[in-house]
Symmetry: C2
Subunit: 201 residues, 2 copies
DNA sequence: TCAATTAACATACGAAGCGTATGTTTTTAT
DNA sequence: ATAAAAACATACGCTTCGTATGTTAATTGA
């Protein structure tokens, strides 16, 4: 089909705006990103913005949603690649979260600006994408009787929180390579706290 | 002395501005807080602001510093109150962090707005106030040979990160009472991962 | 098929806020 | 006592956001 339908055009402009926003938000931060510049870079005007996303925050929410989806997919991929036990999958997820959060785009938009302008991340619908994966893995381990009798969701929240914070620490360090390995070690150490018995490693 | 020196006057206006900023930032958030309104509420104008703090961000930094100092002091107080072993002190600190982070003022200003407008908290000088306390406690436990051979700072970073994230979760929940106890349980569980042997509890 | 309506934007407008540049007054220094 | 500087207040310009109002093209209904 050479002709694009109206709905397709709409989706295309939405995609262009989101793409331009990802770049602008990542480069300048949400607060310093001008909507005039952003929309112009996408070959549009602010009119398209307010028609499609309501306001500036709406665009940020859409961007966060998109990034979060990509994060969850990539983390799952990493976790499933190596196979292994559910426990090893949990550790792989944690490592993946840390490494994903090292990307400037994720860090600036999702970890720094997101909470300030979209509010408490614990209330985001998207945050649950990454989180539910961890919950699922924890529940599997739990059904096998491998962990202590604690609240699954609470544990998942703390683990992901620790991972994201670790990423911020690594990003701020002057020697990310070695600091990253330290962070991953510490993460696996803390995670082992949920086990009934010490792992083999 | 009935007369106040010039330096005292200066400190007084700084204190008034910081106090007004704490209230305004906590109520409306940093982005939506008007400097005109804020300074007027302190009985001053924006002139005083830019003379004392450089810009809006400078005022936020001062506010964050003050709150962080109070947090560290209160957490230490809580940890030392019950006495007990270093291990119990570590758990008490974690619990204190979670409970402190539940206060709307701390949450809005330090956890949500701070990172967005002051940048990565891992680079803040003030963040180290709370963190170094945890590091100190961990080192004490380490010297007694009680923990696994992992990086102390990394562990402290992850533990505080987990605590702060837990607080955001509790704050967003509809039943903070029970969720808080779950979060504290999970925290202690994860923290026990650093121990060589399972604690007595 | 052809008006009429609506969707998808663009343009124009008004208001608010930040930072700076420029006063103004009161100490401090010499 | 006069000059200098500190501690603010006032005034100004610039940017930006959200909305209100066009404008064009597609869709609907008879």
């Amino acid at each position: 089909m050479a002709q694009k339908s109206r709905a397709e055009m709409m989706e295309e402009t939405r995609a262009k705006l989101i793409a331009a926003a990802r770049k602008a938000f990542a480069d300048k931060g949400y607060a310093d990103a001008s909507m005039d510049d952003l929309t112009a870079a996408a070959g549009l005007t602010r009119g398209a913005l307010y028609h499609n996303f309501g306001d500036k925050r709406g665009l940020l929410a859409a961007v966060v949603d998109q990034i979060d989806g990509e994060m969850a997919a990539r983390a799952q991929e990493q976790a499933n690649r190596k196979g292994g036990s559910d426990w090893e999958k949990l550790l792989a997820e944690g490592r993946a979260y840390i490494e994903l959060a090292l990307e400037p785009e994720v860090q600036r938009i999702v970890l720094l600006d997101g909470p300030a302008f979209l509010g408490n991340p614990a209330q985001w619908p998207s945050q649950n994408t990454c989180l539910s994966a961890t919950i699922t893995t924890l529940e599997r381990i739990n059904k096998a009787g491998g962990i202590k009798p604690i609240d699954i969701e609470a544990t998942a929240r703390l683990l992901t929180g620790a991972a994201l914070n670790a990423a911020l620490w690594v990003a701020a360090s002057e020697d990310p390579e070695t600091v990253l390995s330290k962070a991953i070690e510490a993460f696996e150490c803390l995670a082992s706290g949920v086990l009934r018995e010490q792992p083999d490693s």
